[in-house]
C-alpha cells in the first residue's frame, strides 16, 4: 500500500461541506453546554462513618461488626502499642509508630474490601490511626467520603386566572410568580438555578389563563464533578466521531477508532497480566512474594507448585517468535496449544453438538401432553424433522441433485434461506438496539433531554 492510499483524506469536493458540518456541531455543542448543562455531572459529597458505609456497601460483611470490634479491643488490650485492623480475612498487627508498615496494611485492607469501593482518601489512614489510638472503635470513628450523582430538582408554581383581568395584570402575576419561585429556590439552596415563567390559555378551559413558573437547580451542597463531566463529554464526542463514518471515511472517525482500539488493548493487557500471570502463574510459583505484593488473600497453605514451570517455559518459548533468530522454537508450544485445544474440544462437540442434537431431532411426531393431543407441537415436530432431512439432502453431494433428490435439495435451500433470513432479522434488531443505546446516552446523559 502506498503512503498516499494509507492516508484518510476528506474528498476535496466535500471539504467545504465538512467544514460547515463541524462548525455547526461545535456551535451546537456550545449552545448545548450553555442551555442544557450538557454533560454536567453534579455530585453530593458526604462523610459517612464506617458503620453507615457497612450498611450499604460490601465491606467486611461476613464478619459481624460487633465481633470485629471485640477483636480490635482484645488486641488493643493485649498490646497497647500495637493496632489491629480487622478485615475480611485476617488481622494485621502493626506498630503505630511505623507509618510505612501501617500504610501498607491499610492499602492491603483496601484491596480486600475493608475500605469500601467509593472515594477513599489517603488522609483517612491518619484518621484511622488516631481514632484507634484514642481508644475509639473502627465502626464509630473511621469515616469515608461518599459521593453520589444527583439530578436537577424542579420547583413549580401554577396559577389559574381569568383572561378578563387584562394583559398587564397577567404580566404582573407572571412576574410575581417568577420572583416568588426564585426566592423559594434560593432559600432551598439550589445551585445553578434556571428559571422560566409564562402565561398560556388553559387547555379545555375557555376564558382561563394558566400561569406556570418553574425553577430547577442542583441540590444544596452539591458540586460539579469535573472529571465525570469531562468523561461524559469525551464519550459523547467520540460517539459522534464514530457515527461520522456514515457520511464517509474521515480523520475524526480514524482518531476515535484508534482511541478505542488503544484503550481496549491497554485494558486487556493490564487485566491479562493480573488475572493470568499474577493470579495463575505467580501465585503457584512464588506464593509468599505474591501474597505480600499483590494477593493478600492468598491462603497460607499455598505452596510452590512445580507443574506451573511447564506453562512458564512454554510461554517463554512462544515469545521466542519475536526473536530474530530461533523463531522455530515458538512452533513447539504452538503445536502443544493446538493439540490440547483440539483434544479438549473434540469430546464436548461430539456430545453436545452431535449426539445430543440427533437425540433431540428424533422426537415423537404425535405429541400428546397432559391435556391430550397437541396439534401445533406435533406440526412443529414434523416441520423440524422434514427441515433437517431436506437440509441434509442438500449437503449430500454424492448423488446428482435431480428428480426427487433435486426437489428435496431445493426444499433444503428454502429452509436455509428462512434460517438466514431469521439470522439477518435478529442481526438488524441487534444493530438498531446499539444505535438506540447510543442515542439514549446522548439524549439522557449528555444533553439531559430525557428525565
Amino acid at each position: 500500500m502506498s503512503d498516499a492510499s494509507a492516508k484518510t483524506n476528506m474528498p476535496a469536493s466535500s471539504k467545504g461541506a465538512w467544514g460547515i458540518v463541524i462548525a455547526v456541531l461545535v456551535l451546537g455543542m456550545v449552545l448545548a453546554g450553555v442551555l442544557l448543562d450538557a454533560g454536567q455531572v453534579w455530585v453530593t459529597s458526604k462523610t459517612v462513618t464506617y458503620e453507615e458505609v457497612e450498611r450499604t456497601h460490601h465491606t467486611d460483611e461476613w464478619f459481624e461488626h460487633s465481633q470485629a470490634t471485640d477483636r480490635i479491643d482484645r488486641d488493643k488490650a493485649a498490646e497497647a502499642s500495637t493496632l489491629a485492623i480487622v478485615d475480611t480475612a485476617q488481622e494485621h498487627a502493626v506498630d503505630v509508630n511505623d507509618s510505612e508498615a501501617y500504610e501498607s496494611v491499610v492499602h492491603k485492607s483496601r484491596v480486600r474490601g475493608l475500605t469500601v469501593t467509593g472515594e477513599w482518601h489517603e488522609s483517612q489512614s491518619d484518621t484511622l490511626r488516631e481514632a484507634l489510638a484514642d481508644g475509639g472503635t473502627l465502626g464509630e470513628r473511621v469515616s469515608w467520603e461518599e459521593r453520589k450523582v444527583v439530578s436537577r430538582l424542579q420547583l413549580k408554581h401554577e396559577q389559574m386566572v381569568s383572561a378578563d383581568i387584562g394583559q398587564d395584570q397577567i404580566d404582573n402575576l407572571v412576574s410575581k410568580a417568577y420572583e416568588g419561585l426564585q426566592e423559594e429556590a434560593t432559600e432551598a439552596g439550589l445551585q445553578s438555578i434556571k428559571m422560566s415563567a409564562a402565561a398560556a390559555p388553559a387547555a379545555g378551559q375557555p376564558g382561563q389563563v394558566n400561569i406556570v413558573a418553574t425553577a430547577s437547580g442542583y441540590p444544596a451542597g452539591s458540586s460539579l464533578s469535573m472529571n465525570r463531566t469531562i468523561g461524559v463529554w469525551l464519550a459523547a464526542i467520540l460517539t459522534l466521531c464514530i457515527m461520522s463514518f456514515l457520511a464517509g471515511d474521515n480523520p475524526f472517525y480514524k482518531a476515535a477508532e484508534a482511541i478505542v482500539v488503544g484503550a481496549s488493548a491497554a485494558y486487556w493487557m493490564v487485566l491479562s497480566f493480573w488475572t493470568g500471570i499474577v493470579d495463575k502463574l505467580l501465585v503457584n510459583l512464588i506464593p509468599d512474594i505474591t501474597r505480600a505484593w499483590a494477593v493478600p488473600g492468598l491462603p497460607e497453605s499455598a505452596q510452590f507448585s512445580w507443574i506451573y514451570l511447564i506453562p512458564l517455559v512454554l510461554s517463554c518459548m512462544l515469545i521466542w517468535r519475536l526473536s530474530p533468530k530461533g523463531g522455530w522454537i515458538a512452533r513447539w508450544p504452538l503445536a502443544f496449544v493446538i493439540g490440547a485445544t483440539a483434544g479438549f474440544r473434540l469430546l464436548s462437540h461430539l456430545e453436545s453438538d452431535f449426539l445430543l442434537q440427533i437425540k433431540l431431532t428424533i422426537t415423537s411426531l404425535w405429541v400428546v401432553g397432559a391435556d391430550g393431543f397437541e396439534f401445533w407441537n406435533s406440526v412443529g415436530a414434523i416441520v423440524v424433522l422434514l427441515s433437517v432431512l431436506c437440509c441434509l439432502v442438500y449437503f449430500f453431494f454424492s448423488m446428482e441433485h435431480k428428480g426427487a433428490v433435486g426437489k428435496t435439495a431445493r426444499a433444503g435451500i428454502y429452509v436455509l434461506m428462512v434460517t438466514f433470513g431469521a439470522a439477518f432479522g435478529l442481526t438488524v434488531m441487534g444493530r438498531i438496539t446499539l444505535l438506540t443505546e447510543r442515542f439514549d446516552f446522548l439524549f439522557k446523559d449528555w444533553l439531559h433531554l430525557l428525565g
Binding site: 456514515l246 494477593v295 444505535l435
Partner: protein, 290 residues
C-alpha cells in the same frame, strides 16, 4: 421521482434510520409488548427455584453489546435478589467485569441494601482461559479461583467456603455476546455436568443457540425482544420493580421495554425500504430493464 429513488444516496437512508430511532427515543414511545413463551420459561426457571438457591451468573459480554445485554443482565440480578438466591458472579470476557461491579454496587448495593457481599453475593471476577475456565469450574472451582475478585481467600467467605465446583449450583445464568459464551457453557457445563442453564444472548447468536433449547438449555432470551419480554413478566410478578425511582434509575427496570419503541419504528422503515426497492426493481423490469 423514480430516478431519484433509483439513485437514492445511502446517506439519506442512514439519516432516515437515525430519525426513526432518535425520535421514538426522545418521545419515549412504547408499544404493547407480547411476551414470548421463551421469556416466560426463563422466568419460570428462576422463579421455580426455592428461595436461597445457588445461582451462578456469568456476564460474558463487553460494552459493544451492552445495548442488548445489559438490561437482561440487570433483570436477572434483580430477579435473583427478589428470590433471595445466593448469587455467584463471574465473567469470561475481561470487559465484563465492570458490569458485574455495577450489578453489585449499583443494583444490589442501592436497591437491596439488606443483601451483603460475602453472604448473599460474591464475585469471582474475570479469569482468562475461555472454555478451560468453565471446565475447571465444574471439576474443581477453587483450583482456578483461589480468591474472589477482591483477592480474599474463598475459604474465608461463608458462601464460597463449602463450594467445591459449579455442580453445587442450582442454576447457571449466562449472558453471552459470543465466544466464550452460552455455547461453551452448554458444551462444558450444562451437558457434561447436567446443570440447569438459562441464557440471554445477542440477536446475532440466537439462531445458533436455538437448537440447544430446551435441552440442555432450559430457556433463551434472544436479543432486546427477549429482554423486554422478561422485564415485562418480572415487573408483573414483582410490582415494586415498577416504582418510579427504580424505573428512572441508571439501570432502569424497563430499559429493554423502552428500547422496543425505536425498534418498532426502525423495522417499519426497513420493511418500507425493502418494499420500495422491490417495487423499483419490478417497475424497471416491466419497463424493459435498466
Amino acid at each position: 421521482m423514480m430516478n431519484f429513488l433509483r439513485n437514492l444516496d445511502r446517506r439519506i437512508v442512514f439519516l432516515l434510520m437515525g430519525l426513526a430511532v432518535a425520535v421514538p427515543v426522545l418521545l419515549r414511545a412504547s408499544f404493547p409488548e407480547h411476551v414470548q413463551p421463551m421469556a416466560r420459561s426463563v422466568f419460570e426457571e428462576i422463579e421455580a427455584l426455592p428461595d436461597g438457591s445457588k445461582v451462578l451468573l456469568s456476564f460474558d459480554f463487553d460494552p459493544g453489546s451492552q445495548g442488548e445485554l445489559l438490561p437482561m443482565a440487570m433483570a436477572f440480578t434483580r430477579h435473583c435478589a427478589e428470590k433471595k438466591h445466593k448469587m455467584y458472579f463471574m465473567c469470561l470476557w475481561p470487559l465484563g467485569e465492570p458490569f458485574v461491579e455495577d450489578a453489585m454496587n449499583v443494583v444490589l448495593g442501592l436497591e437491596y441494601p439488606q443483601l451483603k457481599y460475602g453472604t448473599d453475593y460474591v464475585s469471582f471476577g474475570y479469569k482468562p482461559g475461555n472454555e478451560a475456565v468453565i471446565k475447571n469450574c465444574i471439576v474443581d472451582l477453587k483450583a482456578l479461583f483461589i480468591t474472589d475478585s477482591r483477592k480474599t481467600d474463598l475459604n474465608k467467605i461463608p458462601m464460597t467456603a463449602n463450594i467445591v465446583s459449579a455442580k453445587a449450583m442450582d442454576l447457571i445464568i449466562n449472558i453471552s455476546a459470543g465466544d466464550p459464551g452460552t455455547k461453551q457453557w452448554v458444551q462444558y457445563a450444562a451437558t457434561p455436568g447436567d446443570i440447569p442453564l438459562v441464557a440471554g444472548c445477542t440477536g446475532v447468536q440466537a439462531p445458533l443457540l436455538y437448537p440447544y433449547v430446551p435441552e440442555p438449555l432450559r430457556g433463551l432470551l434472544a436479543a432486546i425482544k427477549g429482554a423486554a419480554g422478561y422485564e415485562q413478566v418480572l415487573n408483573e410478578a414483582y410490582p415494586n420493580l415498577a416504582e418510579p425511582a427504580i424505573v428512572k434509575s441508571k439501570y432502569s427496570t424497563t430499559a429493554a421495554l423502552q428500547r422496543m419503541g425505536p425498534q418498532f419504528v426502525a423495522h417499519l422503515l426497513m420493511v418500507g425500504l425493502i418494499l420500495l426497492g422491490n417495487i423499483i426493481y419490478f417497475v424497471d423490469k416491466k419497463g424493459g430493464g435498466r
